[in-house]
């Protein structure tokens, strides 16, 4: 035991720099792991607490604009054995007027979505209210509804519009004028920064809300009265999947037919936490990269240490030390350096997390606790330690192979594992040939680094391709399903006939209309679930831009369905599916598979002859006219012009739609830049480690080359050229990895959005620049490391002193 301790102390003393590197990397891993795990757990817990505190229950539903559920609907819901309790808050949604925030300093900020007003009831759905110092939530006994003339707005308004208590929410329509002083900020899971259900929720005093209800009776076109439904399920049905639950709701009440969006508390919690997931994804990549670095260092230093101590190990073995003793020495010293670094990192994360928490509030609109989450962090670290252990044991097998007599006789282990590729040394490019020879002679030493470059480049490619996914044009053509720049939405055919010519004129005042076509939309049942149906005129079927397989439907016997639906129900092109609308049922042949971000991918498309076939009533159809204009950027102004002249018509434009996805898109962009920077930094670190190790291993050879008269510049070139080879090999491997897995990784990520396939587009110039930068970084560092050839005398290099 004493002998082991002596050897361990010698290890720490002689390999100080290795252990310091491992210590600092483990410190960083501990710090980042603790921060990211704490962030994800705390944000998720806070979102779960928010769901519980506000009593949103297990499921929620919203209804189509022209359907207001009845008492009978609610009674039917209540009667379901699956449902434990329902809560049905009333709401008034104002169409076509967003309202403003009037700041205390008279600045006016326009909101970007229709407002939906609710009465705040602390006994019913008590959304948590932020305390005045924004550091906690008000205790339940202090929670009360706003006073008359006051309003509560979501916490996300702070980050989005800079709202403060005392500002005023002002809604002015042609006939009405409402002003509410903002007296509280509520935590509303449907209103976090990243998502919104398409409305801005404003919570009022009950009497103010009743006033709005009265206005909605007078002016139902603009002030839509409706309900939200939240319900809990009985314990024995908690495991029923979401789709199955809504299927049961539909079968037992018919209500789901009228719902336009629905989901579970888990879905809300997921979306409320999504920004932290994105941040953590970036941090996780960094942690993995750091971990690979520590593996690389330990692998190198163990290997080089065994090489350097080759003779000594032989001597120690000769005097009776067992392989197990050496293993213990190496494992103890590396793992203890790692654990020590991790513990320090964990401790440092405590004050740092406190500093990060306020920023977390800005991005999540929730007050996550500032406590470090220890146990999951420890489990994460334990996994890293175990992987490290496996790698150490693999390296340590070399000790078992050392034969004492041979070690004592030879004194030094060979630098190269083979004589390398058979290449004739000759002029010209003698340096390159020598470099290739040395590279291939110890190819094993470079495998790790080549894989590191490959993984780095793979991450870079994934992140760069993400930046090309979230662009307005691709959103429409590939993800929406139909191309458009502007959409006008009509409640009926009459309204369309009455207004569409005028709208066309308004549009043509600013831009040319390249194309326009009608799309009808309604909920429909097929494959045991409710889906959104798009109906296009037969002549416009070529507007389906996201067909993944097959073709668009052409007549009343055909249908195209999303790939997600097809995969779930195992439907193939050519199969027949039954479609139900009210009491009418008909079979359709599936002619094509497409994708759409609409209805979270639960959608089908028909030709317009289906309207007759299923006897679809005109009043149940949303009629939308899609316009493709020659200047997309003017869409926002045109929408405003239409709204001013025709306030009853709802207009959507792609620019604003894009802006609503903007934060996520910007998130992807930042993520890409972050990964890019990390990759370059890591390329520098890993190439430095590698170059240092390889150089010290082959130092004597460079001394020999210098001794026989090879110029310093040539020697440095011989050394650094091989790092270009490592870089290039890594890039090729990374690219192949991306080629084979990139599409499916991105497509799996896209399933979250309801898409089944993302076409990967790589920004060529960025990829080329990144590749060049990575290779250049590798070469430059190697060149820098080889400066010793210049500085040291031959005698120092060949260690003959």
């Amino acid at each position: 035991m004493k002998a082991l301790w002596v050897l361990i102390k010698a290890q720490f003393k002689n390999k100080k720099s290795n252990y310091i590197s491992i210590f600092f990397i483990a410190l960083l891993i501990g710090l980042l792991l603790s921060l990211s795990v704490s962030m994800i757990v705390n944000v998720n817990n806070t979102a779960t607490d928010a769901a519980k505190a506000s009593n949103i229950g297990d499921y929620f539903m919203m209804f189509v604009v022209n359907y207001v559920p009845t008492d009978e609907d609610f009674e039917n819901l209540n009667q379901m054995e699956e449902i434990k309790s329902i809560r049905v808050p009333e709401k008034v949604r104002v169409i076509g007027e967003y309202g403003n925030i009037n700041k205390k300093d008279n600045e006016k900020i326009s909101l970007e979505k229709d407002p939906a007003f609710y009465a705040y009831r602390s006994d019913f759905m008590p959304f948590r209210i932020l305390s005045e110092d924004k550091k906690s939530y008000l205790p339940p006994d202090q929670v009360k509804a706003p006073e008359k003339g006051e309003a509560y707005v979501p916490i996300s308004f702070i980050a989005q519009f800079g709202v403060e208590i005392g500002d005023t929410y002002h809604l002015k329509t042609a006939e009405e004028d409402f002003k509410f002083k903002i007296s509280g900020l509520v935590e509303d899971l449907t209103q976090t920064n990243m998502i919104s259900i398409g409305e801005h929720n404003i919570y009022l005093n009950e009497s103010d809300f009743n006033l709005l209800k009265q206005v909605s009776k007078k002016n139902p076109e603009q002030f839509h009265f409706n309900y939200m439904v939240y319900f809990d399920v009985n314990e024995e049905f908690e495991t029923v999947p979401m789709n199955e639950m809504f299927k049961r709701v539909q079968e037992k009440t018919g209500l789901r037919d009228k719902a336009i969006f629905s989901g579970t508390d888990d879905l809300l919690i997921f979306f409320a936490s999504i920004i932290s997931y994105i941040i953590i994804f970036a941090i996780l990549i960094f942690i993995i990269i750091m971990f690979i670095a520590s593996l690389l260092i330990s692998n190198f230093s163990v290997a080089s240490s065994i090489e350097e101590e080759y003779k000594n190990i032989g001597v120690l073995k000769a005097i009776g030390l067992k392989n197990r003793s050496f293993n213990l020495v190496y494992i103890f010293s590396y793992i203890s350096a790692m654990i020590l670094g991790f513990v320090v990192g964990l401790l440092l994360s405590i004050p740092l997390y406190n500093m990060v928490t306020p920023y977390l509030f800005d991005v999540t609109s929730m007050l996550a606790t500032n406590q470090i989450v220890i146990l999951p962090t420890l489990i994460g670290f334990l996994i890293f330690v175990l992987i490290m252990l496996v790698f150490l044991l693999i390296q340590l097998r070399k000790i078992g192979k050392i034969v004492p007599a041979k070690a004592l006789r030879e004194g030094k282990q060979a630098n190269y594992s083979s004589s390398g590729v058979k290449i004739k040394l000759s002029k010209p490019v003698l340096n390159l040939k020598l470099s290739i020879k040395q590279f291939t002679s110890s190819a094993k030493s470079y495998i790790g680094s080549t894989f590191v470059v490959a993984f780095l480049f793979f991450f870079v490619l994934v992140s760069l391709s993400l930046t090309t996914v979230m662009t307005p044009d691709r959103m429409m053509t590939e993800f929406w399903g139909f191309d458009w720049d502007l959409i006008t939405i009509y409640d009926s055919h009459e309204e369309y006939e009455e207004n569409n010519q005028q709208i066309r004129k308004i549009i043509e005042e600013d831009v040319e209309i390249n194309d326009s076509y009608l799309v009808y939309q309604l909920p429909i049942s097929t494959l045991d679930q409710n889906v959104g149906a798009f109906i296009l005129e037969e002549k416009d079927m070529d507007q389906m831009t996201s067909i993944l397989a097959g073709r668009a439907p052409q007549d009343d016997a055909e249908v195209a369905i999303t790939k997600i639906l097809a995969d779930n129900a195992q439907i193939q092109i050519g199969d027949s599916i039954e479609v139900k609308y009210n009491d009418n049922t008909a079979d359709f042949v599936v002619t094509g598979l497409f994708q759409t971000i609409n209805q979270a991918g639960q959608a089908v498309t028909f030709a317009d002859s289906v309207i007759e076939k299923l006897a679809i009533s005109d009043k149940n159809l949303y009629i939308q006219e899609y316009y493709i204009i020659d200047n997309q950027d003017k869409g926002k102004d045109i929408a405003k012009n239409i709204n001013e002249q025709l306030p009853d018509i709802e207009v959507q434009n792609v620019v604003e739609m894009w802006e609503s996805y903007g934060l996520m898109a910007a998130g992807f962009d930042y993520l890409a830049v972050l990964i890019l920077v990390l990759s370059i930094v890591f390329a520098i670190i890993s190439s430095f480690i590698l170059a240092e190790k390889i150089f010290s291993k082959e130092e004597a050879d460079f001394g020999v080359l210098k001794a026989i008269g090879i110029k310093v510049s040539s020697i440095r070139r011989i050394f650094s050229l091989r790092f270009i080879l490592i870089g290039l090999l890594g890039l090729i491997l990374g690219f192949l990895l991306f080629l084979f897995t990139g599409n499916s990784i991105l497509s799996n990520m896209s399933l979250l959005l309801g898409l089944s396939q993302i076409r990967v587009i790589l920004p060529k110039s960025l990829v080329i620049i990144t590749s060049l930068l990575l290779v250049f970084a590798f070469w430059l560092i190697a060149h820098f490391v080889s400066r010793k050839v210049k500085k040291l005398d031959v005698r120092n290099l060949i260690n003959e002193i």
Binding site: N415, S419, G420, S426, L430, A707, I708, G709, D793
Partner: protein, 259 residues
């Protein structure tokens, strides 16, 4: 030849050479105020006790190590003042160096090791270099081992390849640091025979050794202690026939040096 005055051509002159190793605050004066001339065609052996600075002196003379002070004049130039590239030129074309630990590049075979310095120069064609390398290997009796890696041949064969490498560019001087130090008796004999043969054909050699047998090959032995010359012995050129007499002379001289 005896009694006839032969004017020898000085090809390397060392003036007031000083070499100090510094380690922190500690200064180790290895060579102090050292002066020496090396003559063309001479076989000069430098001897001395361990730590006397003889290897350091050889590395300094061979342009392998920088000096602290003084000058080393070769072809009218102070080589201690040369820049890296000029030093490389010097090592490539004018000096050949042979190490005690041989130092062949382990992933190159013997032929490649020998040819490498020839290929590194700009003036010779690939074929000319290959031809010279082949001839040298054959001359030194290792032609059959040309395609083998250093690890696949004996120490003696490795050292012969190292000598061939030193000769590939027909250097003016060959410096050898204990070239038999890592070899067995038989291989030492072969290597030293090679040095004698080279010297007989006009090659200037400066050799550092501990080995009295190796020293017998010289026509001039310089004995140094603490970095300074304490004595010098001049001998007739080596002939295998007068070995006994030569051995006695060298032995007596070394005894007087308290060897």
């Amino acid at each position: 030849m005896k009694g006839r005055l032969v004017l020898k051509e000085k090809i390397l002159t060392v003036n007031n050479l000083q070499k100090i190793y510094e380690s922190g605050d500690v200064k180790n004066h290895v060579i102090e105020d050292f002066n020496l001339d090396i003559y063309k065609n001479d076989f000069t052996v430098i001897m001395g006790p361990s730590g006397s600075g003889k290897s350091t002196l050889l590395y300094c003379l061979g342009a392998m190590e920088s000096i602290t002070d003084g000058e080393i004049i070769f072809e009218n130039k102070d080589i201690s003042k040369l820049k890296n590239n000029d030093l490389s030129e010097l090592r490539l074309n004018k000096f050949g160096f042979i190490f005690q630990q041989i130092h062949l590049v382990s992933n190159l075979n013997l032929f490649e090791n020998v040819a490498l310095p020839g290929l590194a120069g700009p003036n010779r064609t690939n074929d000319a270099v290959y031809e010279t390398a082949k001839n040298l290997l054959a001359r030194f009796g290792i032609g059959d081992a040309a395609a083998r890696l250093p690890s696949q041949v004996s120490g003696g064969e490795q050292q012969r390849a190292a000598i061939a490498r030193a000769l590939i560019n027909q250097p003016t001087i060959i410096f050898a640091d204990e070239p038999t130090g890592a070899l067995n008796q038989n291989n030492s004999q072969i290597v030293m025979d090679l040095f004698s043969e080279l010297n007989n054909s006009g090659q200037t050699i400066v050799l550092v050794t501990h080995d009295k047998k190796a020293a017998l090959r010289a026509n001039r032995i310089v004995y140094i202690i603490d970095g300074s010359i304490v004595s010098e012995l001049k001998l007739e050129p080596y002939q295998a026939s007068n070995l006994k007499e030569r051995e006695e002379t060298v032995n007596d001289w070394l005894v007087s040096m308290e060897w």
